[in-house]
């Protein structure tokens, strides 16, 4: 039987190529993900190991506040120079490198901020020479110039300096938390730090300057301890631990630290790999559909051959086995190709990432046997599994069918069972989703219900698709008949001829489009809600803020007011407010002036009633706490300061203001670091506001951490992330759609093959080449549109049902259908239909009329 299987693989190679391609793409996705994941893990692990190579013991200090005052947010640690000297005196210790860590965001030479949105990646630390007498810090090999030695100097990593356009000797502008500072660039260094590689920057200061900027003079974040060769580092760790105060200081051996970091890295990349594998899984699921469909078609076509085998004595089991062997061979070939392709993709990703500024630490490509095995199991396993059901059908072919000379249409098998099962599944899914749509928060049980409901609905629609195909394809066919006459009508009839096949083909497309539509609808709805939240209730033209957490100096409000063209400059502070066990943000501002940059709708009281000790609550907070106008309560401000507060008004909640409003005097002392949250700016009315943002920036010292955003930019800042995420998802799900297209091509090729005689007849009685092509093309379009319509419909439904779950965290969430995008998806269905038909249609049109008529 092996020989029969082998022959069959080769006999139908053209058609099997499409099937194999579906597997190949899925396996490529899986193996590419695994190889890339391993490569990233290895590169990051190597980089971290290199950093820790000379660290025998690491002493890390926790951050603490330097004083108890809210207004002073200076950071400190328990690690003093004194303690560092004590560690240095421990026998076996050869070196101690004390470090200070912080963040510094640079302005490029032309003034624009560098990577200000991700300032956590903009590292800063002290350049700490290996020994007091050397000027080399072996962590950061100098590539040009030298390390910083005075408070007026700094060094940057080479890539950052290039990106910012700075050369040695230039004055570099940067900010660590607030105002812009300037220091002279004296050198550039190389670094392998993944955060810097991934688009961040690195600034190095001499130790004293770093302490002044980020800590307190004489304090450190960390000591990296080197030991003499042959020292028992474990024992050394213990000795150092005994020496230091236990409170706020952790002592870890270098080996332990390396292990922990490696684990953390593996955990992080595993997360990413798992997500990618999820998408790969969807692609493979669609691929399995296509394989099952192809084998069903092949087996139907071969039924006479099978019957002959049975007639001459092949057992059912042997028939099944032959088909499974055929599937395994196909899966094996496709997996090999997919693995090679996946490895290629993983290799190509590195230069691609480099080009996009998200580069990885250097390292070799890692192809583990584990990856190879998994690819094999997935590729071959899925192919064989998908061929199993059709193979059972083949075995049921009666030997007597071999004797039938005239080809007959196979008896229509009853669809009652399938339709009822599909109806049940769809019903259960829809009911579950309707239940989900009544839930108001993203609790774990709700998420699980949503997941279950989505899977049930999707499966149900797939099972019931043949039933749906009739009315939907008739509808599409009515259009094609009207537009294209007889070829449109024939296309419709052909698409209706085998509802199972049509449905399976359309379902493969549907899965991808359901997910894409669901994500698009959710994305656009979230975007709309976020945009609304970002600017609703805000009438200011500009919002000035700090991209970091440090806030703005209260004195800056007056500076902004002096800028020509500014009509109103309203400093706003923010603090925590605890009221009857609920927590909300309390906004502090001059109540009168706040009214000029925001639009608050009071249901009782007004802004004018707000004064010292008198605050207004949002309707949401009033409802949650049960407080109303006239109530007095014991509030908690900042870090646990009690204060008696009276409610003087209730307004409709907006994100611009938050849960409560009080005076600046009541709020600022409890605000983070005693700093402003933002300054809201209203321009002089009638004046062209263009350029005002730059004027404001300049007036405030143009710190790279400074943000001056108009309403448009505020909105975009919210939606940008979602758009990026959506685009990424489109890319990942695109693979699923591509595989679906392969399925359409496959089905059409099979249709053309099966209908050779009919095509011959049509040609004989006067349908020209163009008509034949059009017939095939329209069949393809009708099937694809059917898949697209099912996908878009299901996607919208699922997104609608899940929408309510976000309502607790995003109160403005309402379903917003991205019509343009949905229209685009429908057009995509149309285009897929046209594209998939190119090859089969050409084949159909090239058939020799005479031979086609007389074909078996």
């Amino acid at each position: 039987m092996l020989r029969t299987a082998l022959r069959n693989v080769f006999a139908h190679k053209a058609r099997l190529v499409m099937t194999a391609l579906a597997i190949t793409l899925g396996v490529a996705f899986v193996s590419g993900t695994l190889v890339f994941g391993d490569t990233v893990t290895r590169a990051l692990r190597d980089a971290s190991a290199k950093n820790l190579k000379d660290v025998a013991v690491s002493v890390q200090a926790a951050s603490q506040r330097s004083s108890d005052s809210e207004a002073d947010d200076a950071r400190s640690t328990a690690l003093t120079s004194d303690l560092a000297d004590r560690v240095r005196a421990v026998p076996g210790v050869t070196s101690v490198r004390p470090t200070v860590n912080g963040s510094a965001t640079l302005a490029a030479k032309d003034g624009r901020p560098l990577n200000a949105d991700n300032y956590g990646q903009n590292l800063a630390t002290n350049y700490s020479p290996d020994t007091p007498h050397s000027d080399r810090d072996s962590r950061f090999p100098v590539s040009a110039g030298r390390g910083p030695t005075t408070g007026e100097e700094l060094a940057l990593d080479r890539r950052t300096a290039e990106k910012a356009g700075y050369a040695i000797g230039d004055s570099v502008r940067f900010a660590t938390n607030g105002p812009a500072l300037t220091k002279k660039l004296v050198g550039t260094v190389d670094t392998d730090d993944p955060r810097v590689r991934a688009g961040g920057s690195l600034a190095l200061f001499d130790t004293r300057t770093a302490q002044q900027l980020f800590l307190q003079e004489g304090r450190f974040d960390e000591l990296a301890v080197g030991s003499a060769p042959g020292t028992d580092n474990q024992e050394l760790t213990g000795r150092i631990r005994e020496l230091l105060p236990a409170n706020g200081i952790t002592v870890t051996s270098g080996a332990q630290l390396a292990r922990e970091q490696a684990e953390r890295i593996a955990e992080n990349t595993k997360e990413l790999t798992r997500m990618l594998l999820g998408f790969a899984g969807i692609s493979l699921f669609v691929g399995a559909f296509i394989i099952a469909n192809t084998f069903t078609m092949l087996i139907a076509q071969r039924s006479r051959e099978t019957a002959l085998l049975r007639a001459i004595g092949a057992l059912r089991r042997q028939v099944v086995r032959a088909i499974l062997i055929e599937a395994a061979l196909l899966g094996l070939g496709a997996t090999a190709a997919g693995f090679a392709l996946g490895t290629g993709i993983a290799t190509a990703l590195r230069p691609l990432l480099d080009a996009s500024g998200l580069s990885l630490p250097d390292g070799p490509l890692v192809i583990s046997t584990d990856t190879l095995l998994r690819a094999l199991v997935v590729g071959v396993g899925i192919t064989v599994l998908a061929a199993w059901l059709p193979s059972r059908k083949a075995a049921k072919v009666a030997p007597v069918e071999a004797l039938n000379t005239v080809d007959q249409t196979p008896p229509k098998r009853s669809m009652v069972l399938r339709n009822s099962l599909g109806g049940l599944l769809t019903g259960a899914g829809v009911l579950t989703m309707l239940y989900v749509s009544t839930q108001k928060d993203g609790a774990d049980t709700n998420l699980k219900a949503a997941g279950l409901g989505s899977v049930l609905t999707l499966t149900g629609v797939i099972v019931i698709a043949p039933l749906l195909s009739r009315p939907l394809i008739r509808l599409a066919g009515a259009v094609t008949t009207r537009l294209f006459g007889v070829s449109g009508k024939l296309a419709r009839e052909n698409a209706l001829r085998n509802p199972r096949r049509t449905a399976a083909t359309a379902s493969a497309l549907m899965i991808g489009l359901t997910l894409i539509t669901g994500l698009s609808v959710t994305g656009s709805s979230t975007n709309a809600a976020l945009k609304d939240a970002a600017v609703r209730g805000l009438t200011a033209d500009y919002k000035v803020s700090n991209t970091g957490f440090a806030g703005l100096d209260p004195a800056l409000g007056a500076k902004v007011a002096e800028v020509p063209g500014v009509a109103e400059s309203v400093p706003v502070a923010s603090s925590n407010l605890g009221a009857r066990g609920k927590f909300a943000a309390l906004t502090g501002a001059d109540p009168q002036r706040l009214g000029r940059v925001s639009d608050l709708r009071f249901s009782s009281g007004s802004l004018a009633d707000i004064g010292p000790g008198k605050i207004a609550l949002s309707d949401q907070l009033a409802k949650d706490t049960g407080l109303s106008k006239g109530d007095t309560f014991q509030g908690t401000l900042g870090h646990g300061h009690k204060k008696e507060l009276t409610v003087v008004g209730v307004y409709q909640q907006t994100r611009a203001v938050g849960g409560a409003v009080g005076t600046m005097g009541d709020v600022l002392p409890y605000a983070n670091g005693g700093k402003l949250d933002s300054i809201l700016v209203k321009a002089v009315s009638g004046r062209n506001t263009s350029g005002l943002d730059q004027d404001i920036r300049k007036a405030l010292g143009n710190s790279p951490l400074l943000q001056v955003q108009n309403q448009d930019q505020l909105t975009k800042a919210q939606s940008g992330m979602i758009d990026t995420m959506l685009n990424m998802m489109y890319g990942l799900l695109g693979m699923t759609v591509v595989i679906g297209v392969l399925g359409v091509i496959n089905t059409l090729a099979m249709s053309v093959f099966e209908r050779t005689r009919e095509i011959g007849l049509l040609r004989a009685i006067g349908l020209d080449n163009r008509g034949v092509k059009q017939m095939v093309r329209l069949e393809s379009v009708v099937i694809s549109l059917f898949g697209a319509a099912m996908g878009i419909g299901t996607g919208i439904f699922l997104a609608w049902a899940c929408g309510s779950l976000t309502r607790s965290s995003l109160s403005q969430y309402e379903i917003v259908l991205p019509w343009a995008r949905l229209g685009l998806f429908l057009l995509l269905g149309l285009a897929i239909g046209g594209l998939a038909a190119v090859w089969p249609a050409r084949r159909a049109a090239r058939l020799n009329t005479l031979r086609a008529i007389n074909a078996q």
């Binding site: 006459g485 007849l761 009685i765 006067g766 009329t849 008529i853």
Partner: protein, 261 residues
């Protein structure tokens, strides 16, 4: 008769102008060693309003002759004309249009579209051409082949004989210049076969249709007004107003003649 069999027979005059004409028609397949001459300079006219049968043993070239005359296959040398149109001068598009508008086909294996009803199959050539069928004519044709009650059936719901009647009706419905029937009774039992042949003959006698039929069955040939005999790609003989016995007799003579030559 062997002498006559070897020499090409000149075209005999027929009543009225010819509906189709072959002049020195040759068809060669392959090259060199594998070269096969399927038709060797055949000249022949198919009279308008006549029922002509082409007979001959397997491999005699009778099907090839029909395919060439119907514009389904290209010609190696000589000319094939339908009406005044020279087929070799037409490109694929023009040939397709000619088949659609001027030629009707009946094939051995019925060749109906399984997805269309009987009526839709009958009117298919007109649907392809984008023409409305002539209602009255359609009724006449349908009545002639006796399909009135079965027009909404699909081919799978019809017997072999009924399917072939649909095929005949399809060929007649667009009133072509000429109908080519390729072994139309080959897949039918004798009763259904004689029905089909009767319809073809009636269409000639009563509706004035021109029919050319390829067959190897003397009984089928007997329905024709004229039988032409083909052997080894050459025209060898012909018979007017044939009877089954007469055709059988000619075939037998021809067989022995071929064997002795």
């Amino acid at each position: 008769m062997s002498m006559q069999a070897a020499a090409p027979v000149p075209a005999l005059p027929s009543t009225g102008p010819a509906a189709a004409r072959a002049t020195g028609l040759s068809k060669v397949y392959g090259q060199g060693e594998t070269r096969i001459v399927a038709l060797d300079s055949v000249s022949l006219e198919f009279g308008r309003g006549r029922f002509t049968a082409i007979m001959g043993p397997s491999g005699s070239g009778k099907s090839t002759l029909m395919h060439c005359m119907a514009g389904l296959d290209s010609v190696s040398a000589g000319s094939a004309q339908i009406g005044d149109t020279e087929l070799s001068s037409l490109n694929d598009r023009q040939l397709t249009r000619l088949r659609r508008d001027s030629v009707g086909f009946v094939f051995q294996a019925f060749n109906l579209l399984p997805t269309l009803t009987a009526l839709e199959n009958i009117t298919l050539p007109m649907a392809i051409a984008g023409r409305r069928p002539d209602r009255q004519w359609l009724d006449t044709v349908v009545a002639t082949v006796g399909l009135s009650g079965r027009l909404s059936h699909r081919p799978a719901q019809l017997s072999g004989g009924q399917q072939q009647r649909v095929a005949v009706a399809r060929a007649l419905a667009s009133r072509p210049e000429i109908i080519f029937a390729d072994e139309p009774t080959g897949n039918l039992d004798s009763r259904a076969g004689s029905e089909i042949l009767g319809f073809l003959r009636d269409s000639v006698r009563e509706l004035g249709q021109t029919v050319v039929m390829v067959t190897h069955d003397p009984a089928a040939a007997a329905y024709a007004d004229r039988v032409v005999f083909l052997a080894d790609g050459r025209l060898t003989d012909e018979l007017h107003a044939p009877t089954a016995e007469g055709v059988l007799e000619r075939m037998r003579r021809f067989d022995t003649g071929a064997r002795t030559s």
